[in-house]
Amino acid sequence: MVNPLYLFAASLGVAFLLPLVDKLGRKLSLALAYLTLAAWLAAGLSYLWALSFGGAQATLFGTAGFEAPLAIMLRVGLAEAAGLSALSLVGLLAAISMRNKLRDSPIGGLMTLLMALMGMSGIVLTRDLFNLFVFLEISSIASYGLIAYDDRKAALRAGFKYMIAGGIASALYLIGVVYIYRFTGQLNLDLAASSPGLAGAAGSAAVFFLLAALLVELKPFPANGWAIDVYHAADPGVAGILSGASATALMLALWKILPLLGPAHLSLVAGSGLLSFVAGNLAGARQGNARRMLGYSSVAQLGLVMAVIALNELYGLGGEGFVYLTAGGLLLNHLLAKTGLFLITEKAPSGGTTALGGLLALALVGLPPFPGFWAKWSLVQALVAKGQWAIIALILAASLVEAFYVLRWFGSLAKGKADESQLEPRASLFAPALLALALTGFGVLSGWNAGLREPLLWAPFALAVLLYILDRLSVFVKAPLAIAAVAAFGYLATPGLDGLRQFFALMLLGGGALFLLSAMRKAGPRRGLMPLLGAATLSLGAVLLADSALSFFFAWEAMTLFSYLLVLRGKEGEKPALSYLSFGLGGAFLLMLGLLGGAGLWPGAPAGPAWALALAAAGILVKLGALGVHVWLPGAYAEADDEVSGFLSASMSKAGIFALIALMAALSLVPAGREALNQGWALRGLGWLGLATALFGALYAIYQEDIKKTLAWSSMGQLGYVVLALAINDQAGWTTALYLALNHFLYKGMLFLAIAGVVQRVGTRNMYEMGGLIKKMPFSFLSVLMAIIALSGVPPLSGFGGKWLLYSSLINKGWYLEAAVAFFASAVAFLYLYRLIHSIFLGQPKPSQALVKEAPLALTLPQGFLMAILLAVSAFPRLMLDPIMAIVGNRSGTILAFEGGRLSSPLGYWNGTLSMVVTAAVFGLCFVWMMVNLHNTQSVKQFNIVYAAERPHTPATTHYAFAFFEPYRKALGFLTRERAERFWESAGGGVSALGGALRRLYTGNGQTYALHIVLYVAILYLIMGVL
């Protein structure tokens, strides 16, 4: 391993030579500086290689050939090598992205850059306490210069505040070093740590000063106003260096002095870190300025890393490997993503900016496959094992807030909004792209390392990448490709699955393929749609494949991720996507806790304790949009692209149903679980929740003017029935649930596809702006007609089977009132269904829609396919029920049984085939009767009849199809005042207000900031006294 001293010498030499070299031209000086940075990076990587693969051991380098205590020692171990590589990489990339400005500003900028990075590297390597101080000072002083290098007033002011804070920190540090030297007689860290001199109150106080200085440098809440101002005002490259590289160095410094710290010190670090994580994120929630927001996020992330390091020492979460994995993973994730994001903020919105910004933002919030995801998983896993619930709750809640504001920013970026004042026309995407690549690489490696080696689990990401590369091609090329990928996935995955999973594979993968096909309804590349829809489909398949807690959660989060991006892709998708993701992640966190607590959702899994199952179930219910946590649903379904809405409703919602079923299946496998189920109150509660979801979904649906909103609410309601049926939890209930789920897939698929065609042809989603389309789009009408008959449960189509099964199972179970409410809910469904088909296809045709054509083949074809299936299973219910009943098996007694075509329950019977035949015969006779008696018909056109008034200018108020069910609202409107929405809004408002209050600390005044720091340290000291 090369001696790092040479590198320090090189940095110093080059920095001092630069003013001379600069006379020969700025290009040369730039090249020299970059070369030096690259040398650091190369050295770091070579150390890393030697230590991880070359069999080398951690090495100490003494200066001037002596050993400690006579010399200053530099240590190169795994952590140092990784830190060095990371900070040099970030430094180099930031420097490259700053090259235009470095070229135009005085040479001092380049010099300070070299010095700052060298100082940080020194902090990483040194084992000497005083030398650490020297490097801290070098990097700080260089940083002040660097912040102000481009000579802007705001940056100068921020730099000055930085200097004040740095000065206070240095003073504290020096005091600490002085006392430590006094007590131990040593400046070498390792020797000092092993010295008995630090025991006792005085020693503890000495260490405290050391620690306080490092903490202040790590920008803890609330003593971090100076840092926020710097992030806000400095050049994004500088901000990236400070947020990424400097933080890495300081974090390693903290890690280095751990041996000196006692439990009280560690508690301070942990508490301070957690407080920074929570408060930083709360303050960020309110922030509109991108860089300041990233600043808050930096503060928060550093707080989390700090807390993890301390918590590991305090609770023994998992030793050194654990710290590398979690704290290291989080730090790596933070430094790569944050630097990239800072650099992105100066780039004008474009396809590339969006893609990279998206990758980096998603990495930052800890979604798979990025390193933060794995780190967070291991962290929470360790905390769950230690039962640290309060800490888990804090971390997850704050993570959710962070995801909210980071992705809010990304959402506006994706919609082409940016802060004009921050844009830099010469900025390039090279550095962010490299950072994103590194993040992805590290993420995949971590996943591989964590034991996720099943290639099919990674297939969604692979497909997304592949299709993204081909994204410029026409959708007619990509869609068949994506469908082929789905088919291949199905071919490889399904044979190994059990019956239940194969059943769901049909809906998830088959549905995905169907909607991919329908995406060909419009020509052109339709950029972004195919990669995301294809990947989302495969991620649904991956959920079925999962065979461990981690793989299940991985697939689940992948599903959340891709569907979020799909919703965001919708024209007005920004807000709904954010709310979708916030709830999706919130649910996912609950699910994660459940999984880590032992809830098993894969074949042969143990059931786990009751609380874990309850948490997992709660997480799944959020995904299903149960009443109370449904507020994300209508917006997401309505604003996504039309085929995506169908995919979300028909296919993706089934993944939630699947998870719930898997959970209950796991539960009934073990005796304790069966006992819990038999107690009933939990299931009864679940049943009522499902029922309330069904009823309110239907009630909300009837008031909508927007067709897709109607369908969205309807989906929510229909899933409510499935939950209700599952809660019954016997053979009949399970059969009902699976039957309802498959049926919902069929008719909602048809409805969304047909509506996609209508919206595409008509160009509006408001029902009162349509009418009389039956003559223009007869096929779509037929499809909607069959679908609503099936949905409403009117015989003879298969929907009635669902109703019959539901009521039979409910009454058989003794849930009478539930049955009555379910009946009411399903009657309410008639209201919105009638309105849907009537307002669109019947009634008065609109003159502006006289030239509308039938929907494109890409939409009618899948509808025809679904219609054929629907008819077949309606006439022969056994086609559907035999497999379902085989999957369900004999759960605590057979309730439903077939004799020929007749399905019997203890209460009654239903012969689907016979009722179909009778209905068809009666209908045929009536039809013949009508035809025989039809004479001399005169067909009339629209305006042959009296129309009450002139054409209305404001259809919204005068058209009879507007506010169609007003009497209903008058009678029952009080039920549907949006309580849950108001609740979540005020919850969000509360968080935001809290954040706003916290932000008042940051006055922008350097003196105030100095006071904060001093008070912070004083309070820490007092707290330590108590500990």
Partner: protein, 304 residues
Amino acid sequence: MDATLLQRVGYAFVSLFVITNYGLLLIGSMARISAKVQGRVGQPVYQPYIDIIKSSAKRNSIGHGVMFYLGPVFRLAGGVGTYMFIPAVFGSALFMNFSDSGDLLLVMYFIFFGQLGMALGASEGGHPYSAIGVSRGLAQMTAFEVPFALSVIAVAVQYGTLDITAIVAAQQGGFMHWTLATNPLAVVAALIAFLGMSMHNPFSVVIAPQEIPIGPPTEYQSNLLGMLQTNRAIFNGAKLVLYMNLFFGGATNIVVMVIKTFLIYFINVFVGQAFPRLRVDQSIRFFLGVPTLIGIASVLIAAF
């Protein structure tokens, strides 16, 4: 059960013929009774026959499209089908119809078949009054279905079955075995729902028969109207038979059926003559109030 398929089809036609004529006469006689109450002479009892023949004989002056024609077909098929799924006379092969297709749930949901089809057919006519009538009708329907569903559940709980024949069988053996005697609350709830179902006063705003005609039939004429009128007779008959089976001990022969259904239908007329009309929102709140509570009470009584 032993009858061949052909025999069963033949029986079904006989049964249908009986109920059609009975339904028509019932409507005619009720109209005449109403007239007497209001101090008028009223129409002859056979007026519905005249109406249907006259309508069917007329030329079809106006057609609006496929769904417009299919509306009455759906409606009539809905009426006939509903009747076909109900055993009309207990123990009679002639009147068992095709009740082995499904139980009470099938009947309750098949009632919607005709309503839905009719609503769609009428909507294609494009007349706003049709649609408004449908919107009112549907809104009111959701409300009166609640007490009805509750009383049906009460019956199912009480007899432990949803099989109509079995429910009738359980009520044999005299008045004290009728649901009317064993669970009167269920019957009260169901009868109040019946008032809504029949769309007589005070729940007649759906079709607003006295002023501007509103409701699905607004645009229908000629044989299409004839089909609707025929359906009215059959559908009424079917519902009355259903009520008789569920709550009034069923019928062991056709005479008992006629007497019982006549009396049940008379309740409608009686209430209709005595009460003024409610607005739709009022009737929704009405049905979801006291009648629903009565229904819940009936279920609780049956369950415990």
